[in-house]
Symmetry: C2
Subunit: 453 residues, 2 copies
């Protein structure tokens, strides 16, 4: 294989994965990552646990330093370098070096775009307060930890109650007496089933987090030092010493758009199953991309590290001359909220209806273990089933124990397009300390199966 120059734009998650995979696939390739910040390979998903103090040393979230990636994976890393323009016709990049402040041109044979996502903003007055934080990168994590350590806030407002909002509520509650969660919706965790969302609300209440529903933020009122003291909303003013904005993310696609790379309905880069964009020799992976939803067959925006990693491997392998395929994702997510495990796999009832499915759903609660065994907890499962094909489209699971790994079992069933009848017949483990004679999965499938007749 001819030596080729593979350039990766972005070093947070998908970038280093793609680069390392490219090098493994084609050890003769010359692989370079350009990253505009100082840090690569940062475990932002673990950040809430570094903020809570559960992970004591925040620096452990950096999995690879540039030197380590160079040393262990033979991938060159250029931090503080921003790729400013792609010139596809010339297979060339224009790159700014923040140290010299100058730009230079760089040839590539294959390019992998892994520019990730940008956190959403509210665009209201006062949002730039120095105690208003996103949680998107190492700088954010460190700023929050420093602020907590140095300024010892006593009350926090989190805006947005998705996965990050939930994790931050738990993290801050471990450090502050007063945590409020403000959301535009009537229940936390939009996108989950109503049964799950009600249980989440209960868990928040039980653990001293106040959930304020139906909130529209109007402004952040700052004191003289640039610090927000009150969050002004349609439902009144809330005092707060620290504000976290957890509003979700959008694909970071300025660079791609400027190069006329095709962008999809959800604002993400569109690739084929080889993770190649509409432009020759330009691949993309990670939070900057849309992916195929295996359940619906349509594109979906799923900014998840698990999806990014798998897609990055495919992009890296193919950029290096391989023939890998990324079939997409189903959405397989979980979050810990105090003592509660919450998992979602596949699509929600709402998405199913939006996608034209007629659905049957059912909710069951059953023991996680043989019910006589100590440590047995109730697992609740909601299954969402296509009425016509009887195929499982999605599920929500929650419990104090044994929900998340069970969700993976259903994740396989969804990916295999199994019907509830097939799921109801599955041979699963019975062992009193771990699972009851009829696993909650079997109980759920047998239950919804009856309803679907």
């Amino acid at each position: 294989m001819k030596e080729r120059k593979i350039i990766v734009v972005g070093g947070t998650a998908a970038g280093p994965s793609a680069a390392a995979k490219a090098k493994r696939t084609n050890p003769g390739a010359d692989v370079t990552i350009y990253e505009s910040s100082e840090t690569i390979s940062y475990g932002i998903c673990e950040a809430p646990y570094a903020i809570s103090g559960l992970i004591e040393d925040e620096s452990k979230l950096v999995k690879y330093s540039p030197e380590k990636l160079q040393h262990e994976k033979d991938v060159e890393v250029k931090t503080l370098h921003r790729v400013e323009k792609i010139i596809p016709s010339k297979h060339k990049l224009i790159i700014r070096d923040f140290r010299t402040r100058g730009t230079f041109e760089q040839q590539y044979d294959k390019l992998i775009i892994a520019t990730g996502s940008v956190p959403r903003c509210l665009n209201v007055p006062g949002e730039d307060g120095r105690n208003v934080f996103h949680l998107k990168n190492r700088e954010d994590t460190q700023s929050i930890i420093n602020y907590l350590n140095n300024e010892k806030p006593e009350s926090a407002v989190i805006v947005g109650s998705g996965y990050i909002g939930m994790e931050m509520a738990e993290a801050l509650r471990a450090r502050l007496p007063e945590v409020m969660l403000l959301d535009q919706s009537s229940l936390p965790m939009e996108g989950l089933e109503e049964e799950t969302r009600r249980r989440v609300l209960e868990e928040l209440n039980n653990n001293g987090v106040q959930f304020i529903p139906d909130v529209a933020i109007e402004a952040f009122q700052q004191d003289g030092t640039g610090r927000v003291k009150h969050v002004i909303t349609n439902r009144g003013a809330f005092e707060s010493d620290i504000v976290i904005l957890a509003l979700g993310v959008d694909p970071n696609i300025e660079l791609a758009k400027d190069a006329n790379i095709r962008i999809g309905e959800y604002g993400g880069i569109i690739t084929d199953q080889r993770m190649e964009t509409n432009l020759d020799d330009i691949y993309a992976a990670g939070d900057c991309c849309e992916v195929q939803n295996i359940v619906t067959g349509k594109p979906i925006y799923l900014p998840l590290a698990s999806v990014a990693s798998r897609a990055a491997w495919v992009a890296g392998e193919n950029a290096a001359g391989g023939h890998a395929v990324f079939k997409g994702a189903i959405r397989a997510t979980a979050v810990k909220i105090f003592n509660l495990q919450i998992a979602q796999v596949g699509i929600s009832s709402e998405e199913a209806i939006e996608n034209g499915y007629k659905i049957v759903t059912d909710v069951i609660s059953a023991s996680s273990r043989n019910e006589l065994m100590p440590g047995s907890e109730v697992v609740t499962i909601k299954l969402i089933v296509d009425k016509s094909t009887r195929r499982l489209l999605g599920a929500n699971l929650f419990s104090c124990c044994g929900a998340v790994l069970r969700a993976n079992t259903l994740a396989v069933a969804i990916q295999q397009k199994m019907s509830v009848d097939e799921i109801a017949r599955l041979d699963l483990i019975y062992a009193p300390p771990f699972a009851p004679l009829w696993d909650p999965i079997l109980i759920a499938a047998n239950q919804v199966k009856k309803k679907n007749h």
Copy 2:
């Protein structure tokens, strides 16, 4: 539907399941269970935990009394009644009533045989000692508990190191200072992979259970009161105050054999996928039957409650006029050994080779959670893969945490005949408190996939 008389022979596990399912399927049917002992619906799988004291009240292992089953499921139960003969040509049974000691004839329209299994014996002198126990039914459980409470033994010998042997080792170790596990094999838990068996041995050693390999039992030496004091073996005499025989079970098929019902290679009743035997209107389910191994397509003897329950539902439904199908089982089992979770799904390397597969295997160890998170443990997974089709045939998993429910995910993959390539691409959950970015399942599949190229 014409009212029909459905008779079920045997009331331990499969019998009550089949009976209740028959009644649900056809509420007009007249369903009767004949059981030769006093107890029905006994959770023998939980017995080790009642013996250890973890489950304090042994009577809770009885899920249904005859009266409760009658009341809740409208199934008539005749305990202390032994079905002594089936006369298939006349659709008739000869039944002995232990109370009156007499026999009577009973007509049936449909018959379900659920006679279960019988524990294996050694057939050596002294095996009838009053402190030598099997663990097969309620009487055994109660006898062991009474013996432990009343005679306060200080040393125990368990013969056989399968699932029951393991559970009894842990149970007795919770109550006695000295527990020995004697086995004819060189390592505990024959049938599991060697890596797993070595880890089991380590766990036994760490918890004060002495494993004696390569043992052939020659005799049990009794004292004057009919109590065994020494177990005489090819490796010397072992002193013991209580002996548990955990040698496995054989199908209980005397009744079926006498009626010319077809018996298979492993000594179990052969049924079709409707759980009907070779004789019209006679069904069978549970430990008295062989089932189809979904992996190999051949019959297998799998005396497991999980398999029995599913098969019993099918037998019950069909006996009642329904059209259910039992596709078989893969062997999905797990056991807790002190702090260790052990799970096996599908066939072993040895079985694979016996069945003519050329196999590739690999063993990986990976974190059960994000490795920075407290509570993360190492999960070890061995995958057994068919070299030609690349299909997953079986797996062993062990860990202090997160092995068993992960095994169920692989159980689905095996049942769906997924290749390691497909498994390596699965979309599974990443959430730091529950699972790492690349779940151990994905790491294992990616690893063995490489080896298979």
